[in-house]
Symmetry: C2
Subunit: 492 residues, 2 copies
């Protein structure tokens, strides 16, 4: 398979597929809509998971695990939820196969039909709140702060690796609280956990906002979100945190005795991010040569490539310098590899590690070493520098920090350059075609207008930013009064 | 809910259920056969996972993720495999629900029937080898050393929390090799990874062995296993490692070009452990007061309980000693908690932490402190000691090591005391009834005899131990010639 990627400007969608497939992140599978996450892609997800998990635990959450299957009737218990989720899902109807009496392998055993069908979880609010009913009796049982790492299934006809797949991996937090205020506070706290993770670890700036009623999670009273801007000017919802009110508590009869001995319904939140983040990471930073990974998430942060030399003494010197450098870097918890495989040439390796997104590459050649230097290349800007061997480890450590910061600043600048305030419908349409990105515009607050704009332009309201500036204006489409701008974009 | 447990001697099975439910490890769910893993149980699994994952990576493996669903036809491709796995499994037949036109919630949409049914994976050999076909072309692509952490489903009619559930969590390693020797070596290497993990981390001694043909994994040429002995004298298979020969390579046409440009079939292994290990951990060590956890796996290793004092000065002194101790222990990566909740009494806390299996409990009271001592209780032996405050942290660190070792030695002694060599059928039956445990006996090597013994006694051949002593003897049942003893037991 050729490692050359389609250029972003020629075909952005194809570039994305190329990079995911050739960069070793994922592969198509024999099951329509499901992907195989390959080792390089899974390592990225593991690093995301470990960092998020740490942050969830630091904010008082515990992990648990709930069943993969949900009885069909559970989905109907919360009215809005069933509308949103009960439609496209995998339905288990039987629990046994048997040998085909006509010899055609195995067939479904008609005798093994389930009394009630089971749904492969598209999300777990229903099964979890049915369980919480047994776990919550008194205010002393609250708050209940639980997270689950799991796979979920939402049947998709049109899929894209990582961005939209029938099965995906995610985490879903489900918390229960004694008061509305506490639940709202939790919803916002977890949004902030996601936002800081995205910015500090993924080097991906996000807008913190709240969804319009139309874009809310099915069953939520408010959906908060983080929205990121991809290099093609499309937005991507990178995480959501829902204030669920008492909807699920009422649907599953979850009450608690408060301090005054009164029975009250419990208040709920749920929040999640998924393997979609891997897709976001690719699209936020990568280039026509391959992946560009932020050092904090890169499975491999530094690679050392020796430039082979037939002189055994020179080769020994290269090895000795490499080994010393590795030991110094490892002692600082830097993920480093010495690629001394002599079946491939340095040029091939350079291209391979560029494709894989390794942040720093060090070339060690005899001539450079004789001059007491090494060539250090950074993946984000592709700049190369000759660095004194005396200072090499310290340089690399600093460089990793610089790359992390530079990637964030570059993405921040990109977002600033591609966020446009518009004040008329003509302008809205023109900007959307000529300079895609976030469009900040007034909107009259109605679902009708929101849907009309979507129908006309495929742009949706990504969110109403938190702490949004209040400003009188007129809706770009209807001219009706508006109190604040909202962010529009076409989106993944 | 009362926290009192059934005694082991009165009803071992009920004791086990009590401890799992009341110790906060797991709960029944609304879906028959599926359990909810509660935070304390999940934390144990996480600690197991993290340690195993480290050991897998140290032995060169990478994680990946394959689809939850397997096309039905895949199961039929390997003849033995389909016999073993295609029977009791969850079958997805439809991909959509719709509103019931008669108003009864949602119903399965008959229009959304899948052309080919999908099976929720009971194990992933088939979907993985179907993928490996695309990943392996040349000897340069080998070995391929991949592991997956996932949920799997095997429909069970009679379930027991952790030990036998319809859905469970596990890891499954799937490796591909150029030669038979390499694959056999990998199979044994991973068995040893499991065995050392079980002994060093779970403090649970295991017999390393190989299964008889009758007990082999469906599709394997050899199944290696680790077998542990529970306190009721029943054996528990704690992990398996399979040499799969070329069976799956042939079923899925996975060949590679070797160094001589010849096309050869690839050699395979697979190996797995599951949340069953949590059940094994409980049954290997716990007692009538609750869980007894080995320090290396205990989510909480040390708890400090203050004995409240109305004198604020004495109380401040307790707090100050506790905080200093915590800071010292944390600096040594010990998981420690100061439980100064004043809503519950020390006696209640003592019972609670005993139930939860916290290895070390420190009580800090004003009178003891005045004498420069603290009371330190170890969970494994329930011994208490007065320890000088000057030496407290060092004492606790050493005690954690001692407890880990003691638990292993105690279990080892228990196994030695409950492994009996027998030389006649009468003896076999008598020992099985009066002193359950491993029975070491001669067997004539036939499946017929093995099944007859199982039918008569419910005892199965757990394994033929590795490096088994070769010794002439006569089969306990048939009197036919035998070259070695094998281990029998009743088993979970």
């Amino acid at each position: 398979m050729s490692k050359t990627l389609t250029n972003r400007k020629d075909d952005y969608a194809q570039w994305y597929n190329d990079i995911v497939l050739k960069g070793g992140l994922a592969d198509y599978s024999a099951v329509k809509g499901c992907m195989v996450i390959k080792p390089h892609g899974y390592a990225l997800w593991e690093n995301m998971r470990d960092e998020l998990d740490k942050r969830f635990k630091e904010t008082g959450h515990q992990n648990a695990y709930f069943p993969l299957f949900i009885p069909k009737s559970f989905l109907s218990k919360e009215a809005a939820h069933v509308e949103g989720f009960a439609k496209e899902c995998a339905v288990v109807t039987h629990y046994r196969l048997k040998n085909d009496p006509n010899g055609g392998g195995v067939i479904v055993d008609p005798e093994a039909k389930l009394e009630e069908e089971l749904i492969v979880r598209p999300t777990s609010e229903t099964i979890i709140w049915n369980t919480y009913k047994d776990w919550i009796q008194s205010y002393r049982d609250l708050p209940l702060l639980i997270n689950q790492w799991a796979n979920v299934v939402r049947w998709e006809m049109r899929t894209r690796l990582f961005l939209r797949t029938t099965e995906f991996l995610w985490q879903e937090g489900h918390t229960a609280h004694a008061t509305k205020e506490e639940a709202v506070e939790e919803t916002k706290k977890m949004l902030e956990v996601y936002a800081t993770f995205a910015e500090e670890f993924m080097a991906m700036p996000v807008i913190r906002g709240v969804k319009t009623a139309n874009e809310r999670f099915a069953g939520a009273e408010d959906t908060y979100c983080i929205e990121a801007l991809m290099q093609d000017g499309k937005a991507l919802q990178a995480g959501t945190s829902h204030f669920l009110g008492q909807n699920f508590a009422k649907a599953f009869e979850v009450t608690f005795q408060d301090k005054n001995n009164k029975q009250e319904y419990v208040w709920a939140t749920s929040w999640g991010v998924s393997t979609r983040l891997v897709g976001a990471l690719v699209m936020a930073h990568s280039d026509d040569e391959g992946l560009v990974l932020p050092p904090k998430l890169a499975p491999l942060q530094v690679v050392i490539v020796p430039i082979f030399n037939k002189d055994p003494e020179a080769q020994a010197k290269i090895n000795s310098i490499a080994n010393e450098l590795i030991s110094t870097l490892k002692s600082q918890n830097i993920r480093v590899k010495f690629d001394n495989d002599d079946n491939t040439r340095p040029g091939w390796k350079f291209a391979e590690y560029e494709l894989k997104g390794v942040p720093v590459r060090i070339a060690l050649g005899a001539r450079d070493i004789a001059n007491n230097i090494a060539e250090v290349a950074r993946r984000d800007t592709k700049e190369k520098a000759s660095v004194s061997l005396d200072n090499l480890a310290a340089h690399v450590v600093q460089l990793l920090t610089d790359i992390q910061n530079n990637m964030f600043q570059r993405a921040l600048q990109f977002r600033a350059d591609n966020t446009t305030e518009v004040n008329s419908w003509d302008e809205f349409v023109k900007v959307l075609e000529e300079k895609p990105g976030f469009i900040s515009a007034h909107w009259d607050g109605t679902t009708e207008t929101e849907e009309k704009i979507k129908e006309l332009t495929k742009a949706t309201i990504r969110c109403i930013p938190l702490n949004n500036k209040q400003e009188e204006g007129k809706c770009v489409l209807t001219g009706k009064a508006s109190k604040e701008r909202v962010l529009f974009a076409r989106a993944y």
